[in-house]
């Protein structure tokens, strides 16, 4: 069905992909938040469970982006990507819990590995 749609849509296909595969699957959660918001307490047990699952999912996405990277990130070897992430977390603690500090240190390690190994 998707192939037929791709042929029928011609040059509009990339925009359809953005809408059908990107926008709708994301927006349903925002809509659900508005519709459910009236009846949900943000500190209810169900919301705590949803937050935990969401946190585990974001961590899983991070692992996925690092272990099977896209585009330019793939030029840095896997140990360099994971090492840079670990350095960034260490940097966060070393800079007294500064997200900016951790980000700068992680990026610096990644750029250094990238310059040497790519």
């Amino acid at each position: 069905m998707l192939e037929t749609l791709e042929q029928a849509s011609g040059g509009l296909w990339p925009y359809l992909v953005v809408i059908l595969i990107g926008f709708l699957p994301t927006e349903i959660w925002r809509i659900a938040g508005v519709l459910a918001g009236r009846n949900l307490d943000e500190n209810s047990e169900i919301m705590i469970w949803v937050r935990m699952v969401a946190a585990a999912l974001v961590a899983g996405v991070v692992a996925k982006l690092l272990l099977s990277p896209s585009g330019a990130l793939a030029v840095v070897p896997a140990w360099g990507r994971v090492g840079a992430l670990a350095s960034g977390i260490a940097g966060y603690w070393l800079t007294r819990r500064s997200v900016l500090g951790g980000l700068v240190i992680g990026e610096m390690v990644l750029i250094t590995v990238g310059l040497v190994y790519s």
Binding site: Y15, V17, V18, I19, L20, I21, G22, F23, L24, P25, T26, I28, W29, R30, I31, G33, V34, L35, G37, E42, I48, W49, V50, R51, M52, V53, A54, A55, A56, L57, V58, A59, G60, V61, V62, A63, K64, L65, L66, S68, P69, S70, G71, A72, L73, V75, V76, R81, A84, L85, I89, Y92, V99, L100, L103, E107, L110, I111, G114, S118
Partner: protein, 226 residues
């Protein structure tokens, strides 16, 4: 906290320059990348979308992965809605406001909205968030042409911004043993889940198992609010 307010916007611009580069990698037009910034408005989802297409994943599988990466918007929207409600702000306007919810607008909204009168809140939020979105759209378009011209280590650094920033946000937001369980298990289960469940359902399995075990830790520790 005031000096911290520019950071999410800066990170957002760097991430979306990277997304622009990915859009070009898969041969999509520049405006498709910009459209993804305006409509999807979620860095990890956009990187997953274009990155998975580049890797040749099937589109239904990509849609599932994109959707799972965005579940966090449900609790985020639920927690910001009480701040957006006001005179004349019904469900329709709330849906518009919710569309702008992503890490930047949510963080800034929770920080700034309580200081405004109820009537000011919705217009302020939409005005602020759409300004950031406009700048982010330009960053996406610039990235489309810029990434290929950059030294590869710098291009890699821009794409590294999304995973690094989201990891640090999770670390910074983790207060309880349950939070840490969700973070560590979610990360550690990802490669295992790919082995066991394949690339289509690994995120779902990893997130449900990691998140549910974290919730069990929360209950065992006496159920204090995470």
């Amino acid at each position: 906290m005031r000096q911290g307010s520019g950071l999410p916007s800066l990170v957002l611009m760097a991430s979306l320059i990277g997304v622009g580069g990915l859009t070009k990698d898969i041969g999509y037009p520049m405006l498709a990348g910009v459209l993804s910034t305006v409509l999807v408005w979620a860095g990890p989802a956009q990187v997953l979308l274009f990155g998975s297409i580049a890797a040749g994943a099937s589109l239904p599988a990509v849609a599932i992965a994109v959707s799972l990466s965005s579940i966090r918007f449900l609790p985020m929207v639920v927690s910001i809605i009480p701040l957006l409600r006001g005179p004349g702000v019904g469900t329709g306007k709330l849906l518009i406001g919710a569309h702008f919810v992503a890490v930047t607008a949510w963080t800034e909204g929770r920080r700034l909205l309580p200081g405004l009168s109820e009537a000011e809140r919705f217009p302020f939020f939409v005005g602020f968030a759409s300004t950031v979105m406009f700048a982010a759209s330009i960053a996406t378009g610039v990235g489309y042409y810029l990434i290929g011209a950059l030294p590869s280590a710098l291009a890699a650094a821009l794409l590294f911004t999304t995973p690094m920033f989201f990891t640090l946000s999770l670390v910074a937001g983790s207060r309880t043993a349950a939070d840490w369980t969700a973070l560590v298990l979610g990360f550690a289960f990802a490669p295992l889940a790919t082995q066991l469940a394949g690339p289509d359902f690994d995120l779902l399995i990893g997130g449900l198992v990691g998140g549910t075990l974290a919730f069990a830790v929360h209950k065992l520790r006496g159920g204090q609010h995470a």
